[in-house]
Every structure is written in structure tokens, then in C-alpha cells.
């Protein structure tokens, strides 16, 4: 794999102005598929959630899933789009074994939703408006696994396996208009935009919105132009960037790569790029030109979809609170400062905190755990915090143990590591690792006496009323007990021993 030259991001920004564009595919969580009655379920045995329609058997016909239409309209409304009064499906014809019919049924020139926008709040509170060109419905393709050969590509593979469980799963593709003027905020905006779309579809309840499962997939288009020029540069399209962090990194990388290409005087090639999480870089995919001929024509097996204004208004009335308003409400409910709340949003743990509070934690405790412990671990593991697999119940249980004085905060962090390592529940790990705050005063008193004897001058200070000097003794006791003592209790006992009022 050859490595492309890159410029530093700062230098790239000095010379060029980035223009972005996103195609975000959202898998809907309908019970059945877009055009068949087969179940829409992730992770089952290959080729079990299929019927004759999904397999493209001779003679089959599609029937549109009404819930998928409703979900699509809801997404359109949440993206401030207009909803088409009538729209149609088309056939996108191409020969590839992931589509059993050798065409994909997709909307083409008549999307169900169009001309919308989404206001994206950046980390410093700046609001950036992203214009939505369209949101259209289509069906997902099957999943191919190429065996043998290099890099899991079809080229050079010995054979390929195909799983049609995903074939026909309803998708909504959200396409932005070209996004201009983001400047050096482009990578951040990219991440924030995809996060906002994910938040919206999750909030609507129309998608499971799990990026790691491919429920939300992003293709990121990047082009550069010299500052002050109106005409867009040639773009690359980085496919299937499947985490929020990856979206940010991919856009940043492509900006740096484009800048190096342009600096060298070569033209940028219009092509698809593949994102590699391990090297945090992209490699060249298929050369793509606008002349790819999919021979689109209206799907003759389906009748037009008519969305009456009454129906659209009924659906609008069912929409949940928009995420921006929800954020305002949550901040007020939780009593976080602006800075605290923005940090939570930027760390991408707002939903997690909400779930943790719902599971029984206070807002302060939930924030302490997510921001203080989990976000850092996620960064080290290079994943989104939600993907670490911490359950709200775990946090509640850990916090209860701390509050009950069974373990201290330091131990709790260790227990959390155990949970993440799959060693069991917090209670099991405490048991297994023998982690418990020493609560028998006997050994503590011994340690306290030893500490007082070792630091008589400190003991005198305390006796003389300088209670704040107690930290040195507490520290020595904690050290002697290898952190297993309850610091609060230690403090009480020292004061008791010295006959001083706390």
C-alpha cells in the first residue's frame, strides 16, 4: 500500500479553502424489509432473513413498506425538508452479486424529501448551517465477504461469500449541498454534522443509529480550492467512514492529501477512497466519474408514493423534541454549566449520561463517571465512548458501592477496568480481586499509631489546632494500607486518637 504525500493541516489551510459534502446512509429499524415481508434483523445466521423477493427469484415483485415511508418522511421533516406530494422509485442498474436483481431499487430524480437544512453547533458554540439537498429512500445491498486474496477486495479473491440478510433493508440517504466556508473547522464540522444526523434519527426512533453496526454510514466528499476562488476543486469521495472520530480524521486527512497533490501541480483525481482506521489514511478505490451509467428508469413494478398533506401533518405532530431543544432542556435539568455541558456534548456522551441518570445515578455522578473515567479510556482505545460497552447499570452499581463505603474511588476505577476486560459484574470483580475498603478499625489504628510515631512534629501541630496538617498522616496511613482504607474514617480515627475536635 503506497502512502500518499500530505501537507500539514495548518499549511493546507493557509493555502486552500475546503468544500465538503456528505452522503449519510441511515438504516431504518422497521420490522420488515423495504420491499418484502422478510425480517429486518442484524446479526443473524447468513441468508436466514430472506424470502423469494430478497433473493431476486424469477417472478417476484416488490411491495413498499409503509412504515419505512413514514420513517423517511419523519427524517425529512426533522431535517427541515419539503416532503414531495408524489414521488417514485427508480431502478439503478449494475451487475454486482450484492444486489440479487442486478439493480438496486432507489429513488433517483424524485426524492421523498428535499431542500432542508440542519443547524450544527460547534464546540465553541458557533452555529453552522448545513443545507440538505435531499433525503431519498433506497434498499441496502447484501454483504459480500471476499475470501483469500489481499485486503478483502474482490480483486484477487479466491471466492466470495454473500449474505442477503441485509439485502432489502430500508435505507434513507441524506445528501448535503456543498458545504462552504467551514475553513479549518471542516473536520470538526464533519464530525458534528454526522453526530447531529445520528442524534436525529436515534431521537426519532427510526434507526438503531449504531455506527459500528453500519446503521449510520457516511461517505465524505472533500475538495479544495485556492482561497478566493469560486469554482470548486475536484472532489474525492471517502466511502463508509463508520465512526464519528473517523469522519473527523478522514476529512482532515483528505484535506492534507489534496493539498499536497495540488501543491505538486498535479490534478486531483475524481475517485472513491477507502478509509483505513489503522493507518488513519485513505487509499485509492474505484475511479469514479459522473459518466457512470446506471441506466436509471422509473421502477415499473411500483406505483408512485403519494404523501397527502394531512398524512405529513399527522406525522409532523408525532415528531419528538428536536435535539437542539432537547439539549437545552437536559442542561437545565442536569444543572451543568455551559462549559460542562459543551464538554459532554463534544465528548459524545450526552445520550449515555441521560441513560445513566435514567438508571438511577445523579447528574453529577453520571458526569463524573463519563467525563472523568470513560472518555479517557475511549480515547486510549481509539473508539467512541459509547462503543466501549459501559452499561448505565454498571456505573450506578459502582457508585452505590462507593457511597456505601465498600470501595473508594480509586478501587472503583480499577473495578471498571475489570468490567471492560470482561471479568464480570462489579460485585464479582470486587470479590475476585479482594478489593474492599478496610473497615476493621484494628489494623487502621495500628497504622495510625505508626504514622503518628513516625511524624511526631505533625502530630504536635494537629494537637495544637492545625487540623489541616492531618493530610500527611492520612497519606501515610493510606500508603501503609495500600489504598484500601476509607480516608474519611482514617481522618476521624486520627482526630480521635489525638483528642482533637474535627
Amino acid at each position: 500500500m503506497s502512502t500518499d504525500a500530505t501537507l500539514s493541516f495548518e499549511e493546507a489551510m493557509e493555502k486552500y479553502d475546503p468544500v465538503l459534502g456528505f452522503e449519510v446512509h441511515v438504516e431504518l429499524n422497521t420490522k420488515t424489509k423495504m420491499f418484502s415481508s422478510a425480517p429486518n434483523v442484524f446479526g443473524d445466521e447468513p441468508n436466514t432473513n430472506v424470502n423469494e423477493v430478497d433473493l431476486g427469484m424469477p417472478g417476484v415483485l416488490p411491495v413498499v413498506n409503509k412504515t419505512a415511508i413514514e420513517s423517511s418522511i419523519k427524517i425529512g421533516l426533522a431535517l427541515n425538508c419539503k416532503i414531495a406530494e408524489t414521488c417514485r422509485f427508480a431502478r439503478k442498474n449494475y451487475f454486482y452479486p450484492d444486489t440479487p436483481k442486478n439493480f438496486q431499487t432507489s429513488q433517483y430524480d424524485e426524492p421523498i424529501a428535499y431542500d432542508g437544512y440542519l443547524d450544527i453547533e460547534l464546540s465553541d458554540g458557533t452555529v453552522f448551517r448545513v443545507e440538505i439537498e435531499r433525503a431519498h429512500m433506497e434498499e441496502d445491498a447484501g454483504k459480500l465477504t471476499h475470501m483469500g486474496g489481499a485486503a478483502g477486495r474482490i480483486q484477487g479473491a479466491d471466492y466470495s461469500l454473500v449474505d442477503y440478510n441485509r439485502s432489502g433493508v430500508p435505507l434513507v440517504e441524506i445528501v448535503t449541498k456543498p458545504i462552504q466556508g467551514a475553513g479549518s473547522r471542516a473536520p470538526e464540522l464533519a464530525k458534528a454534522y454526522v453526530a447531529a444526523v445520528r442524534e436525529i434519527v436515534k431521537n426519532l426512533g427510526v434507526s438503531d443509529a449504531k455506527m459500528e453496526r453500519g446503521n449510520v454510514r457516511c461517505d465524505a466528499n472533500v475538495s479544495l480550492r485556492p482561497h478566493g476562488r469560486e469554482r470548486f476543486g475536484i472532489r474525492s469521495e471517502t466511502k463508509n467512514v463508520n465512526s464519528l472520530r473517523a469522519v473527523e480524521h478522514a476529512v482532515r486527512y483528505e484535506i492534507q492529501r489534496h493539498a499536497a497533490v495540488l501543491d505538486s501541480g498535479e490534478p486531483v483525481i475524481q475517485e472513491t477512497r477507502h478509509w483505513h482506521e489503522d493507518t488513519r489514511s485513505t487509499t485509492s478505490g474505484r475511479a469514479k466519474s459522473d459518466a457512470d451509467d446506471y441506466r436509471y428508469f422509473p421502477e415499473p413494478d411500483l406505483v408512485p408514493i403519494v404523501a397527502s398533506r394531512e398524512w405529513v401533518e399527522e406525522l409532523r405532530a408525532t415528531l419528538p423534541e428536536p435535539p437542539a431543544e432537547r439539549r437545552k432542556r437536559l442542561q437545565a435539568d442536569w444543572g451543568y454549566s455551559d462549559l460542562e455541558f459543551r464538554d459532554v456534548v463534544n465528548a459524545g456522551v450526552m445520550d449515555e449520561i441521560e441513560e445513566t441518570i435514567a438508571a438511577g445515578a445523579t447528574a453529577t455522578v453520571a458526569r463524573k463517571w463519563w467525563m472523568g473515567e470513560i472518555v479517557g479510556r475511549a480515547k486510549n482505545a481509539d473508539v467512541d465512548p459509547g462503543q466501549l460497552g459501559v452499561k448505565p447499570e454498571t456505573i450506578v452499581e459502582l457508585n452505590k458501592m462507593v457511597e456505601a463505603g465498600k470501595i473508594n474511588n480509586k478501587m472503583a476505577a480499577e473495578v471498571l477496568d475489570g468490567v471492560l476486560a470482561g471479568e464480570g459484574t462489579p460485585a464479582e470483580i470486587v470479590e475476585k480481586r479482594g478489593l474492599a475498603v478496610v473497615s476493621d478499625d484494628g489494623p487502621l489504628l495500628e497504622a495510625i499509631d505508626a504514622a503518628l510515631a513516625a511524624q511526631p512534629d505533625v502530630a504536635d501541630k494537629i494537637r495544637g489546632g492545625k487540623v489541616q496538617a492531618i493530610g500527611a498522616i492520612v497519606g501515610a496511613v493510606m500508603k501503609a494500607t495500600r489504598g484500601q482504607a476509607d480516608a474519611g474514617r482514617v481522618r476521624e480515627l486520627i482526630l480521635e486518637r489525638l483528642g482533637v475536635e474535627g
Binding site: E52, G56, L61, N93, F103, R295, Y296, V303
Partner: protein
């Protein structure tokens, strides 16, 4: 005439009456047809209407019906009117338990895991399925010569074509190998074979019979319909297969009109019947034109008012059809690639890539006419050509619909010859696709507009003694009018002939040595 020969020549309605009265059993009827198939279908001069004969299952269904009838009571009373009446099914329609080939090598040996909706309805009515009938590959043709399994012969003259694509279904009914059959009609594939074999065939209103399970050629034009020897029989079968189907999005929600009552009532008194100026005269065989004029005279005598209507855009119908049909077909047939089912051919040399396996499979699996249409359709849909070809053709389609609307403002039913000529010789037009396409000039407009059409025998042409078809056309959803007028014309014509036209057909030489050469027997070898 033997007893069986009497039985197999009865109409489906007459068979149904005898079955209900207990005068004959379904097993006797079904066996009589199976014997007839064995006698006339196989061998070098056989009709070759069948690609597969479904002996065992057909007899089992017949025996089940007989047992229910014998036991009496509510189950017997609830039996469908056509229960026990056998039927043949065009091999474009999928059936569990029998192969479905679409007349193509690419599906040789394939068994469908599901039943077409119309087949389910036949099973619900407990009609024994005799087997699957021959057709032009993927229903592409007007002569059944494009079948990968050899042509079907016309029972009127074994050296002539039985029409197409549904030549197998029409010939089976004409040769008394089945009382009823199912066909599909995209540009005339039910009506034109009906015309050249002296049988009745109906293309229902688009959307009134479910297409689920009919292997698609052109989705916006295809329609399943009945094939029979009498107008009433078609109405009976149409009533079984019609009605809304949730599996077909283009299926109409409307309940079917009482088509059987329409066929039984039969009345043209005071009706306006419109001759389509553009669909007769020049280009039509003299004998066809003569029989057509005779039918007009009979209808006039029966009280109909004959008017002339003009459909000026019909002259563009054939051209537009040959853009829309191949465009849709090129996409519909893309799924036949050797990956999931059917034939798979590996290229002779390396590399063994997916594209080359698909290519080799399609090169070997499809016949010339199918390839011709796929290439034509792929071209018509290409970027840069779409507007000029597919787009313009769709506009023509709208103009044809308007022509029909204007014509039906002046007439209740329209009338024309079904086909410009009688049956031509096998091989005569095989190397001249355009001449072959012209055979559908009178049937295509109905598909383009979605309106229903019925073809019934109009007599024999003077110059060759071969059957001529008369086509009736009605507005969409007014299929009942076809049966009302068709039944009258049929009875007037039969009164003239002194019996059904098929009585004038030559006796077929029967072979008792070899059973029918069918896929089933081939598989057994």
C-alpha cells in the same frame, strides 16, 4: 369418436356441469386429457405444446375433488364451480413442484420455491394442473419458435406457427390437450396465438390479475389472462385468477365485475361498436379482412351500432413498444446471471472473474431474440439516449391512451382483426425480426394503454382455410363488456358454422407408441 374424444372436446363450463352432476369424475376427465397429451403432443410431428406434464399431481388433485364430491355435505357444496376441471399453465408462471423454464436454457431444471398468485388461486379452486406449456423464450416472440426447447406446432397445420409467445397454451387448448390454459400477454402473447389457433384468449385490464409469479418481461405491459375454447370458459377462468393481490403493487383494489354473468347474458342491442380505422385494411390479409367484415355485419344485425373511430397515434405504437418493452426487459432479465440459481457457465479460459462467469452464463443461456431485446433496451436506457428513446416512447404511450379515451367517448367497445395475417409457416419469419414484430401491430395498443382485449375465432380465411381472430377492446376496468359482446358474436358465428370452429380443424394423427417428449421424461432418462 371414442368416449374420451367426446369428453375432451367439451367446454370447461360443460365439464363443470357434468362433474357437479356426478356424470363424470375429475380423475376420468384429467386422465382423458393426459392420454390426449400422450397421444398428440410428442414425437417429431407432435404438437409439442407441453414442456412438462404434471401427471401425478394432476391426478392427485382430481382424486381429491372426486373424494370431496363423493362424501357430499358442506365441503362438496363449497367446491368451486371449476373444481376438478384441468388446466395447463404457461411455463412463464412459477409453480411449486414443477420446473419453470420460461422457455429458456438459463432456467433449465430450476424449481420455484413459491407459487404464483394465480397458481395459488387455481389450487384453491382445486383445478388439476396438467403441466407447463411452451413459449417463446421469456415470452419474446410471436411464433413460439424462440423457445429453447423447440417450437410448438399449430394443430390446424403442423407446418405452421401457433402464434406466440403463448403458442403452447393456445395449441394445447386447440388440440384438446386441455380445456383451459393460462397465458401472459405483453404485446399480444395471449390474443395473437388465440387468433391463429381458433381459440379464445383474453388480456385483462392491467392490474386486474396479479403478476406475482409471472416471470417479468416488461412489467408495465405484462398481464396474465385466460385461454379457452369459448368466451364463457375464459370468463370462468378470469373470475378464478382475478382480483386484488397485496403481493403486486400494481394490482387494482377494485373487486372484479361479474364476468361470468356478462358472458352468460351476452347482449349488444343498442351498443356502439367502433371500428378502428388504423387497425384494418392495408397490410391485412384479404381473408382476414373478409371475416372481420362478416363479424361487423352480424353485430349490426344483432342490434349494435357500428361506428368508425380514428386512433391516429396507433401508428407509433409498435415503435414505442419496441423501446419500452426491451428497456424494461433488459433490467428484468439482469437477475439471470448464474450466481444464485439456474444455469452457470464458466468461461473456457482464465481469469475466472465474476463478470466473466456472468457473461459466459448469459451468452450461453439466452437465445438470439432475448439478446436482441436486452441489447436494444440497454441502449435505449443509456445516458444520453434515454430522453430520445425511452422518454419519447413514454410520451407516445400517453398519446395512445388519449386516442383510446377519445375512441371510447364514441364507442362502448372497439373492434379489429387480432392479427394482420393467419398463421405463417414455421421458419418463415425467423430471420426477419421486423416482419415478426409486425404481427403484433393490432394487439400492442391495448398493452400500451392498459385496456382489456379479447380475441375470439372469426372463421377461416378463404385463401388458406386457417383461423382468423376478431379482437374486441374495452375501456380499463370494463372487461365485462368484452364478454358481453364476445358471447353474442361467438353464438352468431357458431350458428353460421353449425358448431364450434375447432370442429373444422383436421384430426391430429395420434401416436400410441411414444409418450409426449417432455422435460419430465427427459429427466427420467
Amino acid at each position: 369418436m371414442t368416449e374420451n374424444n367426446v369428453l375432451i372436446r367439451l367446454s370447461a363450463a360443460a365439464l363443470a356441469r357434468k362433474l357437479a352432476a356426478g356424470e363424470v369424475t375429475s380423475v376420468e376427465v384429467t386422465q382423458a386429457y393426459l392420454d390426449r397429451i400422450a397421444a398428440v403432443d410428442g414425437g417429431p410431428r407432435g404438437v409439442h405444446a407441453f414442456l412438462h406434464v404434471n401427471t401425478e399431481e394432476a391426478l392427485a388433485v382430481a382424486a381429491e375433488v372426486d373424494a370431496i364430491r363423493a362424501a357430499g355435505g358442506a365441503p362438496a357444496a363449497e367446491l368451486h364451480e371449476l373444481a376438478g376441471v384441468p388446466i395447463a399453465v404457461k411455463d412463464l408462471i412459477v409453480t411449486i413442484g414443477q420446473p419453470t423454464t420460461a422457455g429458456s436454457k438459463i432456467l433449465e431444471g430450476w424449481h420455484s420455491p413459491y407459487d404464483a398468485t394465480v397458481v395459488k388461486r387455481l389450487r384453491d379452486a382445486k383445478m388439476p394442473i396438467l403441466g407447463k406449456t411452451n413459449l417463446d423464450e421469456f415470452a419474446m416472440g410471436s411464433s413460439t419458435e424462440h423457445s429453447a426447447y423447440g417450437p410448438t406446432r399449430n394443430p390446424w397445420d403442423l407446418d405452421r406457427i401457433p402464434g406466440g409467445s403463448g403458442g403452447g397454451s393456445a395449441a394445447a387448448v386447440a388440440a384438446f390437450e386441455a380445456p383451459l390454459a393460462l397465458g401472459t400477454d405483453t404485446g399480444g402473447s395471449i390474443r395473437q396465438p388465440g387468433a391463429v389457433t381458433g381459440t379464445v384468449g383474453v388480456k385483462p385490464t392491467y392490474g386486474s390479475v396479479s403478476r406475482y409469479g409471472a416471470i417479468a418481461m416488461a412489467s408495465s405491459l405484462d398481464q396474465i389472462g385466460p385461454v379457452s375454447r369459448t368466451v364463457l370458459d375464459s370468463a370462468l377462468l378470469h373470475q378464478v385468477i382475478g382480483g386484488h393481490d397485496p403481493h403486486d403493487s400494481t394490482s387494482l383494489p377494485d373487486p372484479l365485475e361479474d364476468l361470468v354473468a356478462a358472458a352468460r347474458l351476452g347482449n349488444v342491442d343498442g351498443m356502439k361498436i367502433g371500428i378502428i380505422k388504423e387497425l384494418h385494411g392495408e397490410g391485412y390479409q384479404a381473408g382476414v379482412e373478409n371475416r372481420f367484415n362478416e363479424s361487423l355485419e352480424l353485430l349490426k344485425q344483432a342490434g349494435a351500432e357500428i361506428v368508425e373511430v380514428s386512433c391516429p397515434n396507433f401508428k407509433y405504437a409498435l415503435g414505442a413498444y419496441y423501446l419500452i418493452m426491451p428497456s424494461e426487459a433488459s433490467s428484468n432479465l439482469a437477475k439471470f446471471d448464474g450466481v444464485r440459481y439456474g444455469l452457470r457457465v464458466l468461461p473456457k479460459d482464465a481469469p475466472l472473474t465474476i463478470e466473466r462467469v456472468m457473461g459466459a452464463t448469459r451468452a450461453a443461456g439466452f437465445g438470439d431474440e432475448v439478446k436482441r431485446r436486452i441489447i436494444l433496451g440497454t441502449y435505449a436506457l443509456s445516458a444520453g439516449y434515454y430522453d430520445a428513446y425511452y422518454g419519447s416512447a413514454q410520451k407516445v404511450r400517453t398519446l395512445i391512451q388519449r386516442d383510446f379515451e377519445a375512441a371510447f367517448a364514441q364507442a362502448d367497445v372497439l373492434i379489429s382483426p387480432t392479427a394482420p395475417t393467419t398463421a405463417f409457416k414455421l421458419g418463415e419469419k425467423l430471420n426477419d425480426p421486423l416482419a415478426m414484430y409486425l404481427n403484433d401491430v393490432a394487439t400492442i395498443p391495448a398493452n400500451m394503454a392498459g385496456v382489456p382485449g379479447l380475441s375470439l375465432p372469426g372463421g377461416l380465411a378463404d385463401e388458406d382455410g386457417l383461423p382468423v381472430g376478431i379482437q374486441l377492446l374495452a375501456p380499463a376496468r370494463q372487461d365485462a363488456r368484452l364478454y358481453r359482446v364476445g358471447a353474442v358474436l361467438e353464438s352468431l358465428l357458431e350458428a353460421q358454422w353449425g358448431g364450434p370452429l375447432l370442429d373444422k380443424a383436421p384430426e391430429l394423427a395420434t401416436s400410441v407408441v411414444e409418450p409426449a417428449e417432455t422435460l419430465e421424461t427427459q429427466e427420467a432418462k
